[in-house]
Amino acid sequence: MTAPRKPGSGMWYTFRSNRVAQAGSAILLFALVAIVLVRLFSPYDPNDKDYMSILLGPSLEHPFGTDSFGQDVLTRVAYGAQVSLLISVAGLVLGGLVGTVIGMASGFWGGVFDTVTMRFTELLYSFPTYVLALCLMLLLGYGSRSVSLAIALVYVPNFARLARSMTSATRAENYVTAARLMGQSPARILLREILPNIAAPLLVQFSAGLGFGIIMEAGLSFVGLGVQPPTPSLGVMMADGKDYFQKGPWVLTLTGFSVAWIILGLNLLGDGLRDALDPRLRRRLS
């Protein structure tokens, strides 16, 4: 007699048979291992200035070269990736939480609240991403916290719409009606019955959003309106690299390449997750 499969193992099975998700995880794992190894074994400190070795091209001692302060670019990328990723995660978690709560509430109860929140998301959708971010930066001051908030603000409408449409579709399901007839409170129904069933697409949105959050941090810091030096975020390093792009193109090139590498991993993982979690879509497309 075979043991019953544990709940959730179907997801793991589809993940294992999904090449795209595997490629994404492999790329991310490589980045993660590289970051950890560099941070453990790099002989340089990210803020060690060495004026004897300014703007050296990539070599064995400095695989990514050095910047205009003689700092080792690879070491700085390993530290900067953590800063940028944390900013993006913080923004996505905040935007995801607020958006999901708003979306689930308006999908569940509907009515005037629903109309108002949907108009509100439409309004947020009408601002170009960086314009919204820039106004917020002026209001809150530059820095990592404001960048996170800007990313959150850009992603609130995305999560709100997704959560709303999924919730209003789930509301009519039999198990929700059953829970209601059993006298469960709306909060309990939303948390215990609906949320687990709409979590998958939200997770996909989160994973896809992480990559865009990193791009947005990089873009804002690149223009000079985001994270401020000396905090070594990837965007700050790229902004620095653009100032001497002709003399030392490797700083901007290799930092940006690392950014693209991480985002590629996140995007592949997001695509794979979407396919694995949405069998309807997969069946239709296979």
Binding site: Y125, V131, C135, L139, A218, A260, R284, L285
Partner: protein, 317 residues
């Protein structure tokens, strides 16, 4: 008639959105910490100078009054004066000088992105699961993963510093020389267009594949129509609706990209003006630029609605 009603309702909705959006921008810019008078005159300004500046710019009026005055002037094309630039340039003049450049680069990028995605998306879908599909799909996800401003510098590295085909920096206004504008605007437009094309072609591929499976397409096959006839007469037009909608939804990302790319290539567009104004804490100009961007996005969405209404007359019914 129905079509007219449909568009009329859309236009009214867009106008309401514009008014509320402008109000939000106005409130945001007035909630900014720090005094506008101090920002303009410097910290060492005498209390008298600050008081007269406040009176001159009506900063003591109630907020609602200020918004009403500003909105009424904005409707006549007057967005106030810059406080940071010597001589107090009018915001409208700054925007009038820079908007054509932004629209040119943005429009150029949109055309390139649509052209690439139509070809790549159609090929990927019609050769589903084969070599061409794998190539187009992987190409799309790689391009989506690149920050556009980094891509801009990589293009500069290859096509300007390496091959010398295009200028690395600077932009010729379309009003001066159209050929020069195309030449100097090509790299910035391409940098914005390539990631966009990735998003668009993925969208087109998915909707095409879904349409291939529709019953009417299957029955068209059963009736013995040729493959290309079915593609153009049954599949393509129906797949265009989600595709056009997706393009409309990307307007805010497209314009966001323009803001950063303008800095990379030194295009004197609205984004550049806005970033400069943000550095100078010139809130009036930031506010004017934000409203202009708002107008562009809302107008784009209106255009998309109109296009979708034309592609699918059932919407207006």
């Amino acid at each position: 008639m129905n079509l007219l009603l449909y568009f009329g309702a859309k236009v009214l909705g867009a106008l309401a959105m514009l008014v509320v959006g402008a109000g939000v921008v106005f409130l945001l810019m007035h909630a900014v910490p720090g005094d506008a008078a101090m920002a303009a005159l410097g910290d060492a300004a005498s209390p008298d100078a600050v008081a007269s500046f406040r009176a001159e710019h009506h900063l003591n009026d109630p907020l609602a009054q200020q918004f009403w005055d500003w909105a009424r002037a904005a409707l006549t094309g007057d967005l106030g004066k810059s406080i940071s630039l010597a001589g107090g340039f009018s915001t409208s003049a700054l925007i009038a000088g820079s908007l054509p450049n932004t629209l040119f680069v943005g429009g150029f990028a949109l055309v390139i992105a649509i052209a690439i995605s139509l070809v790549a998306g159609s090929i990927a879908a019609s050769r589903h699961g084969r070599m061409e599909d794998v190539l187009a799909t992987s190409g799309a996800i790689v391009t989506i993963s690149m920050p556009d401003f980094w891509l801009g510098y990589m293009l500069v590295l290859v096509f300007s510093l390496g091959l010398g085909w295009f200028p690395a920096y600077g932009f010729v206004r379309p009003s001066e020389s159209l050929a020069g504008a195309f030449h100097s605007g090509f790299l910035p437009a391409l940098a914005i267009a390539v990631p966009m094309a990735g998003i668009f072609s993925r969208m087109l591929r998915t909707t095409l594949l879904e349409t291939f499976r529709r019953a009417y397409v299957v029955s068209a096959h059963a009736m013995g129509f040729g493959r290309s006839f079915i593609f153009w007469h049954y599949v393509f037009r129906n797949a265009l609706i989600p595709y056009v909608t997706a393009i409309g939804l990307q307007a805010r990302y497209l314009l966001g990209g323009v803001v950063v790319i303008e800095r990379v290539f030194g295009v004197p567009g609205v984004g550049s003006v806005m970033v400069d104004a943000a550095f100078a804490r010139d809130y009036g100009v930031v506010q004017g630029c934000a409203v202009v961007f708002l107008v562009i996005v809302i107008a784009t969405n209106l255009l998309v609605d109109a296009l979708c209404g034309l592609l699918d007359p059932r919407r207006a019914a």
